[in-house]
């Protein structure tokens, strides 16, 4: 019997674990190690952050689902990997530390035949002074990265609405809290939900709303922007996004690295090297992501973290990490199988794999501060990669070492994204977008890097309906209800 250990129970890890359990059946063991007791449909956290959904509506308990799937569930965080075993253990193992199940603080070595690293990111609030400490959100701003954060954000949002109703003007600052952030899309969706809810509450005229981000142009989204079909034209996402902001009276500041956060104000540095500060009454700033800080040790106990992980803490996979300058970057630099190049029984998926480089054009201020979005690896690509990796591992288990590895390059897959602006079925308007491929391929599409037949954007209620359907469909799928495998990632 082989044991497959999956580190992380988010979109990618959960997808990998549930498919692995289905494909391997009871003759092999699938173990999930995740510090969380609940699964969270993160895209709907945006609605929690404006009071349109409750935390309970976007989360569910993992334990019963894993019991049903025959998955061994350990509510714990992975601390280190020993891919060669140790002097006292011949098998490779991962050291975990329990965070629940009545074993809080206890350590355990879990041996494995194959390990899939799907730990997701460390929310690195500590990278910006004042934004938080380590992975803990600070006291001056809010976040929508977790359901708890989103619930807290909604409390603060409601307080601001009450102040406006009492005649006190409020300034909302939404965007990214560091020059190296990703996930602009979440902040993008949140700012438009904030704007929509303020209108609904009848206090829009009492609010100043400003976007701040590390993108060098509005609509970069960490993907170097995109050219999409809109109304028969192929339009840059810059124009598309600027239109959305301008129409809603939302100001924007781009190319910004937030260097410090204090009560009611932030300091920033712009791409032109200038610095300044911006005041706020309510700020939702996405933190930068980093690897979760897993260490790796060789058999003799020596530290091999640098061999297994990139400097940012994400796991090295079959990407070309020696691409060099921006001019040399190619779509083929991006990983296909997500297998660790040193240890063939280790894989990474979702945010946990180290990208070969960013997608957007690298930028830095004259002071040398890098200010550019890092690549998004969430949502649909995350699920597709998780499934492909699970498929590879299952084939390795059942067919042996020579089994064909399944491929899922972000340079050959698309993504669908719906950014709501409200939650109503007859009010508010969402931006529904698709991009294909996620990583531009300028050899194939020399002008835009993408197939404009499959890269489009549209604003309207239809997007809201799709977002509602996605919410229910993916929670249904994640709960492994009948027919769950028919729902695509």
């Amino acid at each position: 019997m082989a044991r497959v250990v999956i580190l992380g129970g988010g979109v990618s890890g959960h997808t990998a674990a549930t498919f692995a359990a289905k494909w391997l059946g009871s003759s092999h063991e699938v173990v999930v190690v995740t510090p969380n007791a609940k699964w969270n449909w993160i895209p709907s956290n945006i609605w929690v952050g404006v009071g349109q959904m409750t935390k309970e509506e976007v989360t569910f308990d993992l334990d019963p689902v894993y019991k049903k799937a025959g998955i061994t569930y350990k509510q714990a965080k992975a601390v280190s990997l020993n891919p060669e075993g140790s002097e006292s253990e011949t098998q490779p193992f991962v050291t975990i530390e329990y965070t629940g199940q009545g074993k809080e603080g206890e350590s355990e070595d879990v041996t494995y035949d194959y390990v899939i690293n799907a730990t997701g990111p460390k929310l690195n609030f500590g990278a910006t002074p004042g934004l938080g400490e380590g992975s803990q959100l600070g006291e001056h701003t809010v976040s929508v990265c977790t359901a708890d954060h989103a619930e807290h954000a909604n409390h603060k949002f409601l307080e601001s609405i009450e102040k406006m109703k009492a005649g006190e003007r409020q300034k909302f600052l939404i965007g990214t809290g560091h020059g190296m952030c990703t996930c602009q899309g979440a902040a993008f969706e949140y700012i438009f939900n904030i704007e929509h809810e303020l209108k609904k509450a009848g206090v829009r005229d009492m609010a100043d709303i400003k976007w701040i981000s590390n993108e060098s142009f509005l609509g970069d989204f960490g993907m170097g922007g995109l050219h999409m079909k809109v109304g028969g034209y192929v339009v840059s996402s810059k124009i598309f996004s600027e239109s959305l902001y301008a129409e809603r009276g939302v100001d924007w500041m781009i190319g910004a690295h937030v260097s410090k956060v204090e009560a009611g104000s932030i300091d920033y540095e712009l791409l032109d090297g200038s610095t300044g500060s911006e005041s706020f009454d309510f700020a939702m700033l996405i933190p930068p992501f980093a690897g979760v800080g897993l260490k790796a040790y060789a058999k003799d106990g020596s530290d091999i973290t640098d061999t297994v992980f990139a400097p940012n803490g994400f796991m090295k996979v079959d990407a070309n990490y020696a691409a060099g300058a921006y001019e040399n970057w190619k779509a083929s630099d991006w990983p296909r199988t997500y297998q660790n190049p040193t240890y063939s029984n280790m894989f990474a998926c979702g945010i946990a794999f180290a990208p070969p480089h960013i997608i957007s054009k690298p930028m830095s201020s004259p002071n040398g501060t890098p200010i550019n979005p890092t690549p998004p690896r969430t949502g649909m690509p995350s699920g597709i990669i998780g499934k492909a990796v699970a498929h590879s591992v299952c084939d390795l288990v059942t067919k042996g070492e020579g089994a064909h590895l399944h491929e899922a390059s972000m340079a050959e897959m698309g993504a669908a994204c719906v950014a709501s602006a409200g939650k109503g079925l007859t009010t508010g308007t969402a931006a529904a977008m698709t991009v294909f491929p996620v990583v531009p391929d300028f050899e194939k599409y020399p002008g835009t890097g993408r197939d404009t037949d499959y890269t489009f954007g549209e604003i309207g209620l239809a997007g809201h309906w799709i977002k509602h359907i996605l919410h229910h469909m993916f929670i249904y799928k994640a709960k492994l209800k009948p027919g769950w495998t028919l729902i695509p990632e």
Binding site: E242, A246, E247, M413, A416, T426, Y454, L461, A462, E489
Partner: protein, 55 residues
């Protein structure tokens, strides 16, 4: 004479001057239930194509 919404939007600040702005018709179609139902079907079909090309 009432001022068109797009005039208000363009005049808001310098940032808004160089982008595109929806007119009254485009804005109305965004929430027109019949049109949006048609778009819902079309967007879903397009998304399904993208999903199928990605697997």
């Amino acid at each position: 004479m009432s001022v068109k919404q797009e005039e208000v939007n363009f005049a808001r600040n310098e940032q808004s001057e160089t982008t595109m702005m929806p007119g009254k018709f485009a804005t109305a179609m965004r929430t027109n239930l019949i049109w949006q139902f048609i778009r819902f079907v079309i967007i879903n079909l397009k998304m399904l194509v993208v999903v199928s090309k990605s697997h």
